[in-house]
Symmetry: C5
Subunit: 362 residues, 5 copies
C-alpha cells in the first residue's frame, strides 16, 4: 500500500505542525531536509533560500547601504575637483580608522546571545493547553452524566485563556480575533460568556476572569464529588496555577524581556557603523588603479563587515519579539488552530474507552 505509506509520511510531518506547537510546517521540512542532506553540497541550498531567510530581514538595509556607498563613489569620481578630492580622500581615510570596532561587536554579540537565550527559555516554557486539560479529564470519575459537558467547558476555557493571553502580545492573533465576537464565531466562546467578559467595570483582566472560572469549576467538582481521588483537587489547582504562571511569563517575556535601552543602544551603534563603513575608504594607502576601482565599485569587503553587524542585529531583534508577522516569527495563528483542534480530541478522551478503539483487549 504505497499510497497509505505516502500518506503516512505526509500526515506525520504535518502532525508536528498541529501537535507539537510548531510554527510553519513547510519551513521546518525545509530545515530538516537541509540538515539531513549531505552537509557540503546542501550548504548552497540553505544559503540561497529566501523564505524565513536573513535576506528578507536585511535587504532594505543592504540597499540603503549600497546606494549611499555608490553615491559617494560617484561624487568622488565625477562630482569633485582636485582639491575636494584630496579632502574626500583624507576624510574617508579618517573614517576608515574606526571600521574595526571590536568593542561594538562585543556589545552586539552579548546582546544577541542574551536575546537568543531568553527566546529559548521562553519556547521551552510556553504554556500548553493540553496538559492542564488532560490532567483534569484523567482525574474525573468516568461515568458522570454531566462529564462530557464539564470536560468540554473546562478544555474550552483553557484554550480561551490561552487565546486572550496571546492576543495581548501577538499582533497576528489580534488581527485574527479583532474582538470577542470573532472568538465567539470560532466556537471557543459562548454568548453568555462573552456577555460576562464584556460587562464593564471589571477591575480584573480578562484572562484572569477565565482562570477564575476554571477555579470555580474545580470547586464545583470537589463539592459534587466528581474526582476519583480527593487528592486530585490539589493537583488540578496546581496545574491551573502553573498554566496561569505560564501565561504571565509570556506577557513578561513580551514586555520586560530586554530593557528598552539596550535595543536603542545596539540599533544606534549598528546604524552608526553602517554610516562609517559606507564613508570609509582607505584611498591614500592604495595607489594601484585596479585596487582603487575595486574599492570604488566592488565594495564587497565593506559590505560584508556591515552585513555581519546588520545580520546579527536583525537576529537579535527577531528574538526579542518573536510574536510578530514575519516569516521568522513563531506562527501563533497556526499554534492557536492546533490548540483549538486539540479541544475535540480532549473532549473525546473523556468519553472514549480503550475497548472503543481495540476490541480484543484482556
Amino acid at each position: 500500500m504505497p499510497n497509505s505509506d505516502q500518506n503516512f509520511i505526509d500526515s506525520n510531518s504535518s502532525c508536528r505542525g498541529s501537535y507539537y506547537t510548531m510554527s510553519s510546517k513547510k519551513a521546518s521540512i525545509v530545515m530538516l531536509a537541509a540538515a539531513d542532506a549531505s552537509r557540503f553540497g546542501e550548504s548552497i541550498n540553505i544559503v540561497f533560500r529566501w523564505k524565513r531567510s536573513l535576506y528578507k530581514m536585511i535587504w532594505r538595509h543592504s540597499l540603503v547601504f549600497l546606494v549611499v556607498y555608490f553615491s559617494l563613489t560617484a561624487l568622488y569620481n565625477f562630482g569633485l575637483e582636485k582639491d575636494n578630492k584630496k579632502h574626500f580622500e583624507a576624510l574617508s581615510a579618517y573614517f576608515a580608522r574606526y571600521t574595526r570596532s571590536f568593542n561594538w561587536m562585543i556589545m552586539l554579540g552579548f546582546f544577541t546571545n542574551t536575546a537568543l537565550h531568553r527566546l529559548f527559555t521562553m519556547q521551552m516554557t510556553t504554556p500548553g493547553t493540553a496538559k492542564t486539560a488532560t490532567i483534569f479529564i484523567m482525574s474525573l470519575k468516568q461515568d458522570l452524566p454531566e462529564g462530557p459537558d464539564i470536560v468540554d467547558q473546562y478544555a474550552r476555557w483553557v484554550v480561551l485563556a490561552w487565546i486572550l493571553t496571546f492576543r495581548s502580545v501577538c499582533k497576528p492573533l489580534r488581527d485574527k480575533f479583532p474582538n470577542l465576537t470573532a472568538i465567539q464565531t470560532s466556537g471557543i466562546l459562548l454568548e453568555e460568556e462573552k456577555r460576562i467578559l464584556q460587562r464593564g467595570g471589571y477591575p480584573t483582566p480578562r484572562p484572569l476572569i477565565v482562570i477564575e472560572w476554571l477555579l470555580l469549576l474545580l470547586k464545583e467538582c470537589v463539592k459534587e464529588d466528581r474526582y476519583i481521588n480527593k487528592s486530585s483537587h490539589n493537583k488540578n489547582v496546581e496545574a491551573v496555577m502553573t498554566f496561569k504562571k505560564g501565561c504571565s511569563n509570556i506577557i513578561k517575556f513580551s514586555t520586560q524581556n530586554i530593557p528598552y535601552a539596550v535595543i536603542q543602544a545596539v540599533i544606534i551603534v549598528v546604524y552608526c557603523f553602517g554610516v562609517v563603513t559606507a564613508m570609509a575608504r582607505n584611498l591614500p594607502k592604495f595607489d594601484n588603479e585596479i585596487v582603487r576601482h575595486v574599492i570604488g565599485y566592488f565594495p564587497v569587503m565593506p559590505y560584508i563587515q556591515f552585513f555581519v553587524f546588520i545580520a546579527w542585529l536583525s537576529v537579535g531583534r527577531a528574538a526579542v519579539n518573536p510574536f510578530g508577522n514575519d516569516d521568522t516569527d513563531i506562527d501563533v495563528r497556526k499554534l492557536c488552530e492546533a490548540h483549538m483542534q486539540d479541544l475535540n480530541w480532549l473532549t473525546e478522551l473523556y468519553t472514549k474507552k480503550l475497548d472503543d478503539v481495540f476490541y480484543n483487549l484482556p
Copy 2:
C-alpha cells in the same frame, strides 16, 4: 458594538498592567507596537523615543563629555601658542593609543551580561501573592461560616508580607508607605496588627512576623478541620515557605547581586575611558585641513566610542538595581497596587460559585 470592542482592547491591554505584574502599561504598549510594526520603518521610532530610553540615562554623561571635548578644542585653537600646540598634539596622540581598549570592553561586556542574566532570573522568580492565597482558598471547605473572614485575613497578610519585603529594597515603595500608618490607611493593615508590628523588643524582622501569622493561621485551620483534604495542610505550608523563600531572594538580589567591587571597577574604567577619549585626537597623523576641523568640531567618532561604553554601563547598572525611581526600573508601585486589587478578587473567589456566574450549568 464597536464601543464595547474598543473597550475590550483597552481593558485587555490594561489587564497586563494590573494582573501580570507588569511595570508600566504605556511603555509596554509602545514596545509592543514598535515591535509589531514593520521592522525597517519603525526602527526610526524606537530610536527617537524618549520615555524609558537610553538617552534619559546618559544625557548628563554625554553633555559633560562634549563640554570637555569642545573646551579642549577651544584651548588648542585659541588658547595655545605654537610650542604648546606641539605639546598638545603630542599628548593627545599619546592618549589616542589607548582608545581601542578591547580589554575594557570585554570586562564591561561580561559585567552587563551577568547583570542582565541575574535580572532575568529574578524577574522570573519574583514571588507573587496570588498563588499562595489561591492555593489556600481552594483547599478550604466551602461553607465555613468564618470562611470569608479567614480568607480575607490570609490574603491580606500575604500582601502585607509582600509590601514589607519590597519596602525594604525599593525606595519608591518606601516613599509611598513611609510608615506603618500609611500602610494602615491603604487598608492592608489593621490597627491591632500595626500595634503588634510596632511592639518594641522584637528580635525578628517584620515580614517574618507576618509569615508567622500565616503559619499560625494554617495551624488553626488544621485544628478546626477546615481543609477539604488533610494533605492540603502540607501543601499550604510548602506554599508559604516558597513565598518566604521568594521574599528572601528579592532581598538577596538587592544586596548580594553583583559584588560591590565589580561595580566600582566598571565605573572607574568607563569614566577613565571617557576622559581618555575626550583628550585623544590623532592630529599629527592627519594634515588635511578639513579632517582637522572634523576632529575638532564634529567629534562623532570619539563620541560614539564613548557612547558604547556609557550605554552598556548604564544598562548594566540599571539591571543591578531594578527597584529604583527611573523609567527603566520595575514599577513596584504599580505592581503593589495590582496585588492589592487582586485581594478583592481573591476574597470573592471563596464565596462565589460557578452558578453565580453562569445560570445554565449541568
Copy 3:
C-alpha cells in the same frame, strides 16, 4: 576465571551502548581510552583519529580552499605579466587587510556556543521510555491475570510513541522504518494498531494517537482497580504527560532550535572569510625570496585561520542538527534498538519476583 572476567569487561562497556542511550559504543571507548591515557602522549592519538573526527567534516572545504589558493599562486607565478603582477599584488594586499576579522569570530563563537549549549540541554532531557514504563509496572497490583499483557502493551506503546516521534526528526530512523509496515515487522506494532494509525481523516498526529492509547489504558486500570495505591493514577498520568512533553521538546529542538537566519549568516560569513583568506597574501610587505615562496606554496598560516573558522562552523552546524547520518551525530538507530531491547526486560519485571532470582532471601 580469567575468561569470565574478560567477558565482564566487554559486556560492561557494551552495556553503556545498549542501556544508557549511548550512540556508538566503539567511538565512546576510543574517547574514554584516549582520555584515560596519559594526556601528553595520547594527544597525538586524538589528533590523528579519523572516525567521528573533524577531518571528515571539513576535508571537502579544505580541499576547495587549497585548490583555489594554489591556482591563484600558479596564476601569479606563471600566468601574469609584469603589470598584472603588480595589480595582483596590490589586490591581494588589499584583501589581506580583512583577514583579521575578529568581529566575524565573535559572531561565530556565540553561534557555536549557543548551539552546543542547546544540544547539551536537549541530551539531558531526551525522553526515555524506561522511566514511564517502570513507574507504570511498579504501580500495578502484582497478581493480576491480565497483568503481563497490559504491561507488554503499555511498554510497547511507549516505545512506539518514541519511534514515531524520532522518525519525524531523524532521517536514519526514517530510513530504517520507511513506513508503518516496517515498524510492524520489528514487532513494536500490531496489525490492528497499524490499521487504526492508517485510518484516514485523523486530525491528530500519530504519536498523539499512541499517547491517547496510553491514557485510555490508564483509565482502564483505575476502573478495574489494578493499582496498588489509588494515588498511583495521578503519578502515571504525570509520567505520560512528562513523556509527551519530552517528545514535543525533541520536535521543537529540531525545528526551532536556532533561527534559520542565524545559520545563513554564519555560513555566508565563513565562506566569505574563506574566499578572502585564499586571495589575501601580503606580498608587497615581504621582499625576501624564501618568504615569498612560503607564502605561495606553503599556505600554512592562511589555512590555519580558515581552519579555525570552518571547524567552528562545522561543530556548530553538527550541534544544530544532531539527528543526521554523520558519525558525529547521535546514533538514533542504536538508541532505538536499545529501547526495544528494554521492552523485554520491562515485561519480565512485572512477572519476576526476587525469589526467582535469589533463593535464600529473608
Copy 4:
C-alpha cells in the same frame, strides 16, 4: 508617633540582616542608598567608598606596581648613561608590544564570569535552617506534652548541623567556635551531645552524626504517632535530605568550585601582565618632552590597564572563596547568629496560637 516610625525603618533594615541571611547590614544599606540615589550624582559616591571596596582588595598590588614603575623611571632618568639609556628604551619598547594582550583578557573574562556564575548559584541554594525546622513543627500534632522539647531539640540540631558544616569551610566561623566547648557555651550543644560527638573511633563526620539524630527523631515521631498526617513523615525525611544535600553542596563549592589549575593560570597571567606593563614604555615613538614626562611620571594609562586586570582577578578570586574574613565575603558569623536567633522564634511557633497574638479572631 515619629519615634516609632523611625524605629520601624531601623528595625526594618536591620531585619534583612538577621532574617534574610544577609552579610553586613551597613554595607547593604550603603549599596541600596547608592543605588536609590540619582544615578549620575551618586556615581561619585560609589567610586569613593572604601568599605567592601575594590581598593581594599587591590591597594597592595597597586602600590607594588607603582613603586616598580617609578623605580624604573628613576633608573632611566638618573641611573643610566647614554648607551644604557638606548638599551633601556629599546627594551621597554619591546615590552610595549605585549601590553595589548587581548588573549589574556579573554581568559580572565571567562574565569571571572564562571566564578561569579557559580557564586550566584551557590548563594541561591545555600541551605537554610528555617525551612527544615518549620516543616517539622507544622507537621506535629498540636497538644503533645513533649512537643516543645522535641521542637527545641530538632531546631537546635538543624542549627548545629549548619554550624558544623560551615565551620569546616569558613575560617571566621572556625575562629568563633574553635572547639565543641565554644559551641556548647553558645547554647546550641548540650553536654551529653558534645560527649557523643567527641567519642572517638567514629568513622563518620560530625555533621552526618547530627543529621542521623534528626532522622532518628523523625522515626520516633512516626512510632509515637506525633504527626497530624502520616504522609508528613515522607515530607520531613525529604526536607532533611534536601538540607543534607545543601550542606554537601556548600562543601563541594568550597573545594571543587574552580579547578585549582585555573586559579594558578590566571594569577600567573595577571602578574606577568603587571610586570610587562610596568616595564613597557614606548619612549622611541614619542620625542616630545612633555609626553616623555607624562610617560615617566604620570603612568595613568599603564596603571589603568593593570587596574583592569588586577580588579577583575580580585573579583574572580573573591567569588571563588566567599567564606573568608574580607569585607567582600559573606559574613558567615552574622548569618550564624541570625540562625541562632531564629531558633527561639521557631520554638515559640509550636506553642503559640493565633489567639495568643490576636484576640478578636473569628
Copy 5:
C-alpha cells in the same frame, strides 16, 4: 581537653573527605588554607604549589616549546651564514604576524567555558547512594524481623550499582576493581549475586541488573506490607529512577560531553599556535643588541603567550574527562570508599533508636 579539640578539628576536616563526596582531603585543605589566608601574601603560595597544579599538566609541553625555541636560536646564532640569517629573519618576522591570534583565543575561551560549565553541572548532579538508601530505610516499619537484612541488602545494591556505573567511565576504579571477584572481596558483592551477574547471555548491562533487583525488592516490600505508609512505595520507585537517571547522566557525560571534533579542533589550534610562536621573532624590527639577546635567550613573552593557550587547553581537557588518574581529577576511589563506609552507618540507622544514643529524652 586540648587533645580532643585537636582531634575535633582533624576529624572534622577529614569528614568532608568521607561524607561529602570530596576527592582529596589534603588538596582541599591546602586550597581552603590558601583561600583563608590574607590574599596578597598567599598568592605566592598558590602559585608555587605543585600538587594538583597547572605545572604538572603543562611542564612537558613547556619543555618541548623551550627546546624548540632555543634550538632555533642556536641555529640562527651559530648555524647559519649571512644570507641564510637574512632568510631566517624574514621568515620569523612573517610568522610573527600571526602570533596575535585573537580568533583562536575566542574559540579556546568558549571551549573551556563550555567544558567547565558542564563539569559543574555534572558535579552538582552526581548520584549519591545515601539519599536513595535513606529514603528506603525511613519508610520501612520499625520492628520487622527481616528488616536489618533487607536494609543491608538494599544499601549494598545501591552501592554496587554505583560502583558498576563508575567502573565503566573511570579507569582508576577499573584498576581497583579489575573484575567482579575484586568487588566481592571488598564485601559489596555476595557469591550468589556474582554468579547471577556473570551468567552469560544477558542482554542487559550490569548496573541495570542491580537496579532491577532494587525494584524487585521494592515490590516485595509492598507485598509483605513492610512500609509505614502505602504511598512510600511510589516515593521509593521515584528515588530509584532518579538514581538510575543519575547513573545514566554520568555515562552520558563521559561519552557525549563535548563533541569529539571540538577537542580535535582546539588541540590542533593550540599546537599550531605553539609552533608559530616558537618560530616567530620580530628580529628585523629591533636593531638593539640587548633586545636581540633578550629575544634569543629570554623568550619570556612568547612563552607567556604559549602558556595562556596551553594552560587554558589543559584546563578544558581536564574538565572534559574528570574521571582520570591525574591529581586534578575527581578522586573516584576515595569517593567509592566513602560510599562503602556509609553502608555501615545506613544499616545501623534502621536498628538504632534515639534512646540508644541519648538516655534522657522526653
